[in-house]
């Protein structure tokens, strides 16, 4: 019986091994590969992200200035964010929240010109954005 006594005392005096979620939420680490975000004001619609994407979830229309992204096909590898020459693609630290239906994110901007007006910047629960 006394073999367990050091264990019992250690367990009583130590702090808990589990975190009391959802009362206490650990903040996300800095470099986490979370949801993809495109700052369409900086985007030049060059199309490199669409070519390099391993799961082919991005489509870019250069003439009309449209960037279409399927967040459900994306594997969040971050290759597009690494090679974007205009540095408009970033990955946030929070993961994409669950959505009720399958949706694509469509962004419209002005290709290769000074941007005076852009359409919706995506929040995480974005739906098919209109013009």
């Amino acid at each position: 019986m006394f073999k367990m006594t050091p264990n019992v005392i250690r367990n009583l005096l130590h702090k808990k091994a589990t975190r009391l979620y959802p009362r206490l939420i650990r903040p996300a680490f800095e470099n986490v590969r979370g949801a993809l975000f495109n700052d369409v004001a900086q985007c030049t619609f060059c199309g490199v992200c669409a070519v390099k994407c391993p799961s082919q979830c991005i489509a870019v229309d250069k003439k009309a200035g449209i960037w279409i992204y399927d967040p459900f096909a994306c594997v969040f590898c971050g290759i597009c964010a690494d090679i974007c020459p205009a540095e408009s693609l970033h990955q946030q630290s929070e993961y994409r929240l669950p959505l009720a239906g399958r949706e694509t994110i469509t962004l419209k901007g002005e290709p290769k010109q000074k941007i005076e007006k852009t359409t919706q910047i995506p929040e995480e629960e974005n739906d098919d954005s209109k013009d």
Binding site: N31, P54, G78
Partner: protein, 358 residues
């Protein structure tokens, strides 16, 4: 004596992935085993026709969900050898650090499942508590918990700052202390020994003849570890393979436990010796030729055969994972055992079926 055929799997609480065995049982003793695979066959090797050789890295990481970084490392090493690209030294050391952390994480997962297979659930929870610390290190340094996606052709994508290395060292010391607390529970407990000693014995000659690899072979006395090849930065680190002698389930779990300690040692050496420099070089051109690469995965020897012909897509990619080589060993150790020992023995070869039937 009447024979009964009992299906083991494909869904079983002890198996991480689906594997089907038809056991012919006579009076609780097994006389015959017939395996059946094919439940998670995705045909990933054929994707080389559609995805070019750089996009294939992300596909290959997803062949296995436990040891994904080593698949990507083997593929990148093969393509780099074909193209004659020399990876910078800092990238080699970074790859070794992450791959040894990956190995520790995989062995801890297995140790937890092994304890669960004979009902010791609290030990299962303790091993996975230690594993959570490793996954936190992965998430803080690379961005993801298991499929860490740091390998590219020509180096690695992320760097480790001095502060991250120091915090990694202190986390590893915590892991070492916790493993020390669990050692007597796993290896000297009376009930654990009763369930594992003498079960599923694989002799050294039989293991060699069947082509068994990894900790399953090393527990039977064959001192072969692909890390002795000295790929990547391993040539500059001190390394000795961990070998057992008995060849039963107890020896296999002991070998894996000591390998966690050995990986801790390797990570400490790598952090002490890591040089400064760049982490990635630009590659030009496309691969052409044929090559064979091997890497030590947590489960054994991983074998890649890559054939390319100078175009954007590879011509053929052949992956042989270690569980593929260990399954014939099951057919020789299971006959003659009690039916109630089957889950412990099947788990002791560390079956990773999604690797096997990519």
């Amino acid at each position: 004596m009447l024979k009964t055929i009992i299906p083991f799997g494909p869904q079983h609480p002890v198996l991480p992935e689906p594997l089907h065995l038809k056991l012919t049982v006579e009076d609780e003793i097994i006389t015959d085993v017939f395996p059946a695979l094919g439940f998670v066959h995705r045909g990933l090797e054929n994707l080389v026709n559609i995805r070019d050789f750089q996009q294939m890295i992300q596909v290959i990481e997803r062949v296995c969900g436990i040891c994904s970084m080593l698949h990507a490392m083997c593929f990148c090493q093969g393509i780099e050898e074909m193209m004659g690209v020399e990876v910078p030294p800092r990238a080699k050391f970074l790859r070794i650090i992450w791959s040894e952390l990956h190995r520790m994480q995989s062995h801890l997962l297995w140790l937890g499942l092994f304890a669960d297979s004979f009902g010791f659930e609290s030990l299962f929870m303790q091993f996975w508590k230690i594993r959570e610390k490793l996954l936190d290190i992965n998430e803080a340094t690379t961005g993801n918990r298991v499929i860490i996606s740091v390998n590219v052709i020509g180096g690695v994508r992320r760097d480790l700052s001095g502060e991250q290395l120091r915090s990694m060292l202190s986390d590893i010391s915590w892991i070492e202390d916790e493993m020390g607390l669990l050692e007597t529970t796993l290896l000297s407990d009376y009930t654990v020994k009763k369930r594992t000693v003498g079960k599923g014995v694989l002799s050294k000659e039989k293991a060699f003849e069947l082509g068994v690899v990894g900790p399953t072979a090393r527990a039977s006395g064959i001192a072969q570890d692909m890390r002795m090849l000295g790929y990547s930065a391993l040539g500059q680190l001190d390394f000795e393979p961990v070998v057992g002698t008995d060849g039963d389930c107890y020896a296999r779990s002991k070998v894996r436990f000591q390998e966690v300690r050995q990986s801790i040692n390797l990570v400490r050496q790598a952090i002490a010796k890591i040089p400064e420099g760049e982490i990635r070089i630009k590659i030009k051109g496309r691969p052409a030729g044929e090559t064979v690469t091997r890497v030590e995965q947590p489960r054994g020897e991983l074998f890649y055969y890559i054939k390319a012909n100078g175009s954007k897509n590879l011509e053929r990619l052949r992956i042989r994972t270690p569980t593929f080589a260990n399954i014939p060993a099951l057919l020789s150790i299971l006959p003659g055992m009690w039916l109630s020992d089957v889950p412990v023995v099947v788990l002791s070869i560390d079956p990773c079926i999604s690797c096997t039937e990519r």
